[in-house]
Amino acid sequence: MATALDEAFAKAKKDDRCALIGYVVAGDPDMETSRAVIDAVVEAGVDIVELGIPYGDPLADGPTIAAGSQRAIASGATIDGVMRLVGQTKAPVLLFTYINPILQYGLEKFAMGAKRYGAVGVIIPDVPLEELDPIREVIRKNGLIMPMLVSPTTPDERMRKIASDSEGFTYLVSRLGVTGAKDAPDTSAVRAQLEKLRKMTGRPIAAGFGISKAPHIVAVRDYADGVIVGSAIVDAYASAKGAPNAAAAATRLVRLLRLACKRAPAAAASAT
């Protein structure tokens, strides 16, 4: 069954570009601004929205997203509130959060709610292969997918297994460490990882963590089916005051990023 996610990757491929996946912390700094920012990033060219359900102790996230989550929690963001944001978003939405808020909310209730509001799937970074099966069973039963992450520390055999188990796409973590725009990724290493992963899976591959600027996207766009930009978007809207300014700041950044996703004609011809 083709999901809205498959269609987004297919459309990007047809346009000779890698798909742009934009991460936003839901409810950051408040629900009104968040709604405006999400509309803005979709309007400006994000193909897929990765919507972060704020969690106060995010082990996979750096200071930018951790601070965004704290702001959202402080302004009263709830999982129910995030679900309503999903329902109002005009691009495919992948939820991104940690296992504890989901378990406390109730896994089944979470999956049912996410599906009802129109989410495509959920990424849970602290559920590795070893803990996956019982969680994924419930997610799947409710018609959602679970993309999984591979990282620079993942051994080849494990990478093959994750790529085979991952649904929708495989999320390649571009560098050692956590999310954040502070340090640039080693794009040649990312390309090598993408090439390796490409031999292991026929599904799309998207690269994230540290991908924050147009040049990073230009360096990997011919190798990846998608790129994921998070902290840079959060930085952009977080420094703007008020919903209209936050939306405008996010729009400016996303337009630039989207332009960078377009492959050069020669490369596009040979892209996967």
Partner: protein
């Protein structure tokens, strides 16, 4: 030996709930640990350092005045007499030796009260390994002496300003740093918490406490204790003293959590008494959290107990009924702290004072045949300023009518 299953679970508690980037580093630690644990030369080196450098075995002391006028015999296990002043050093020596064995060149650690940070800084200096310690800004302020000591020992102390600025956030930061430096860095976790294999590994390095108590009680009293009491934050000193007695059903095991300003207030740090099951720092255990699954801010007068989670093996021991968990308030701990100082000439860590406070209660209920061992997990020099401050605040409160 009670071991977790192959996925690191004690019953339904434990596991390895971590981002993918940390899976391989944890598997590497597990493999190195298994190999080292099977190698007598590793244990020879470990026990050699505990003997020559730490000063083990730590003695037991009968607390004749603290116990009075109660009739039960109360015995202190004197982890406060270890080099660096707490049980923490046992575990850090074990992990630092493992780090060297793995070829790691750098140690990182989180710390709350600072005792674990001091212990890692100490063993880093001894073995020539650079050390970075992550500590919440609130704890940096309330444990200034230990911060100075860590720096004196050559460690770099990083003040963590995110979240509640206490041990929980220091732990988050250490995990994040480890994710970016796992090639050459070993993360020395300070308690029986975190993802597998840490809860098991730390327990095995701390079990020396209970192993010694067993021999010492049999030697001095000709019998095993009736009750063992230890404070529980993450729970390493408690697991360290409990482990040797798990199969002795006649030995009652008591874990004492921090009730802070009361279990009926939000200002406590009693994960087992007031928490629910969740996932924090890579393992499934009891946790203080909101209905939305956000980790709740905690409070304890003792920085070392000011942690919203607890080691997964404690969760297992609680649910299986093998150990009982109780909680005492800040005020009760402070009173026990002072009583121990003035009646026994021992200034205990505020953490240990929680165990002492419960020992006083338990001694009232037990007859003279009872032999109660309290794990005096550390010394209280670091807490003297905190006590002074608490007393000054209390005096101020008393002086100003409501």
């Amino acid at each position: 030996m009670h071991k977790p299953d192959e996925r690191g679970y004690f019953g339904e508690f434990g596991g390895r709930w971590v981002p993918e980037v940390l899976v391989k580093p944890l598997a590497d630690v597990e493999a190195a640990m298994s190999e080292a644990f099977a190698d007598p030369s590793f244990w020879d080196e470990f026990h050699g350092l505990l003997s020559e450098y730490v000063g083990r075995p730590s003695p037991i002391t009968t607390a004749k005045r603290f116990a009075q006028p109660r009739s039960a015999t109360i015995v202190f296990k004197r982890e406060d007499l270890n080099h660096t002043g707490a049980h923490k050093v046992n575990n850090t020596i074990g992990q630092a030796l493992l780090a060297k064995r793995m070829g790691k060149t750098h140690l990182i650690a989180e710390t709350g009260a600072g005792q674990h940070g001091v212990a890692v800084a100490t063993i880093g200096a001894k073995l020539g390994l650079p050390v970075d310690v992550y500590m919440g800004a609130v704890d940096v302020e309330r444990q200034a002496l230990n911060v100075y000591v860590m720096r004196l020992l050559g460690a770099t102390v990083h003040e963590v300003t995110g979240g509640t600025q206490t041990l929980k956030d220091a732990t988050n930061e250490a995990f994040r740093v480890w994710a970016s430096q796992c090639d050459d860095t070993f993360y020395v976790i300070g308690s029986v918490v975190g993802a597998h294999p840490y809860p098991f590994m730390v327990r095995e390095f701390q079990r020396i406490i209970g192993d010694e108590v067993r021999v010492q009680c049999q030697g001095k009293f000709g019998r095993l204790p009736s009750d063992i009491i230890a404070c529980v934050g993450g729970g390493s000193n408690a697991m360290g003293i409990f482990t040797a007695f798990i199969d002795d059903r006649n030995v009652n095991l008591w874990g004492v959590e921090a009730a802070g300003k009361g279990l009926n207030t939000p200002e406590n740090a009693a994960a087992l008494a007031a928490g629910s099951i969740g996932v924090l720092h890579g393992s499934r255990s009891y946790l203080l959290q909101t209905n939305e699954g956000q980790v709740r801010p905690t409070h304890s007068v003792s920085a070392g107990l000011d942690y919203p989670g607890v080691g997964p093996e404690h969760a297992f021991l609680k649910d299986s009924g093998r150990a009982k968990y109780v909680a005492v308030t800040d005020a009760e701990a402070i009173a026990a702290f002072k009583a121990c100082a003035s009646m026994e000439g021992i200034i205990p860590a505020l953490e240990s004072a929680h165990a002492l406070a419960y020992a006083e209660k338990l001694a009232k209920e037990r007859g003279e045949e009872a032999l109660i061992v309290v794990n005096l997990s550390g010394r209280g020099d670091k807490d003297v300023t905190q006590i002074e401050k608490a007393e000054a605040e209390a005096m101020f409160t008393e002086a100003v009518p409501a």
